[in-house]
């Protein structure tokens, strides 16, 4: 005989799974379509070497991009080899994992619109600030 506590928990978990399944499956499909449609080489073509614009672009592309953070390191490494500034690359890597425009509809539905929009906007701004601080700190340490 299964304890009522376990039974109740199993029913709640099943209900939670059924409620979240369309979002999770939708997210997987959306991310796959995005990754397949946008070639990685596209990112490097937008950076111009501008000290102000590049970090902003880095954060914008990082926010729009999605997928495993591993890819952000690989793309970041390629961008660095092509001469793109470290602040822009750091903003790109940071916003890749902390900001999610593609995930925003799913995040809004599960965690609330106000929370999700605020969190993503704050994360976008802090990605740029943190990127500048990382490079400044490295400059001091060097």
């Amino acid at each position: 005989m299964v304890s009522p506590i376990y039974r109740e928990s199993a029913l709640k978990t099943w209900s939670s799974f059924m409620q979240n399944a369309p979002i999770l499956l939708g997210m997987l499909l959306l991310i796959s379509l995005f990754i397949t449609a946008v070639p990685k080489s596209l990112y490097s073509s937008f950076f111009t070497g501008n000290l102000v614009l590049d970090p902003l672009l880095g954060a914008v592309f990082g926010s729009l991009a999605t997928g495993n953070p591993l890819n952000s390191y690989i793309i970041g490494g390629e961008l660095l080899a092509q001469g793109v500034g470290l602040v822009a690359i750091t903003a790109f890597i940071l916003s890749w994992v902390t900001v999610g425009i593609v995930q925003l509809p799913a995040e809004s539905l599960m965690l609330g619109k106000r929370f999700s929009v605020t969190r993503n906007m704050v994360s976008f701004l802090t990605a740029i600030i943190a990127a500048i601080l990382v490079v400044l700190t490295l400059g001091v340490l060097a």
Binding site: A10, L29, T36, L109, A130
Partner: protein, 167 residues
């Protein structure tokens, strides 16, 4: 309210489905590649999905709303921040797989600022650090990790300030 929320979740799926139909009209090969990628991705994230729902099952038994409030609610203090930050660093898999658990914990009383700190700390991925060191070096990796942890607190505080008061 519950029905409306469920309906909006299926609406999201419907929008994605329509996007695929539109993409298929433009490029059928792209859609097949995307579906193949989805199958691979689903296979990869399946253990994380199972882990998340196993955690929801366990949390339903162990974590009562009173306990959530005590450990991660208002007045949880530094302990709450440490739990959220450690949870974010140690959690694996895509960020969106953790939304159901966080949504569940939030309904039980977890502070939005701690949810924000959890999500921000997912940027600190210990298993991926060797690759970051390979591309950018030790100094960059350590300095970046330090700032990511620091900014997770700042991010959580700002998000908390902007969302907790009016909710």
């Amino acid at each position: 309210m519950m029905k409306q929320r469920l309906l909006s979740k299926w609406m999201f799926f419907l929008v994605v489905f329509i996007s695929y139909l539109a993409a298929a009209l433009a490029d059928t090969g792209l859609v097949f590649s995307a579906l193949s990628y989805t199958a691979d991705l689903l296979w990869t994230v399946l253990p994380v999905i199972l882990m998340v729902f196993a955690l929801i099952f366990v949390s339903n038994i162990i974590l009562t709303p009173q306990r959530i409030v005590r450990y991660m609610g208002k007045g949880s203090g530094i302990k709450g921040w440490l739990i959220a930050m450690a949870g974010g660093i140690l959690s694996s898999g895509p960020i969106y797989m953790w939304y159901p658990l966080l949504s569940d914990l939030r309904e039980k009383g977890m502070k939005p600022s701690l949810i924000a700190a959890f999500l921000y700390n997912r940027a600190v991925k210990i298993p991926l650090m060797p690759l970051m060191i390979y591309y950018f070096g030790w100094a960059f990796t350590l300095v970046l990790a330090f700032y990511m942890i620091l900014f997770s607190i700042i991010n959580g505080l700002i998000v908390g300030k902007l969302t907790e008061v009016k909710e």
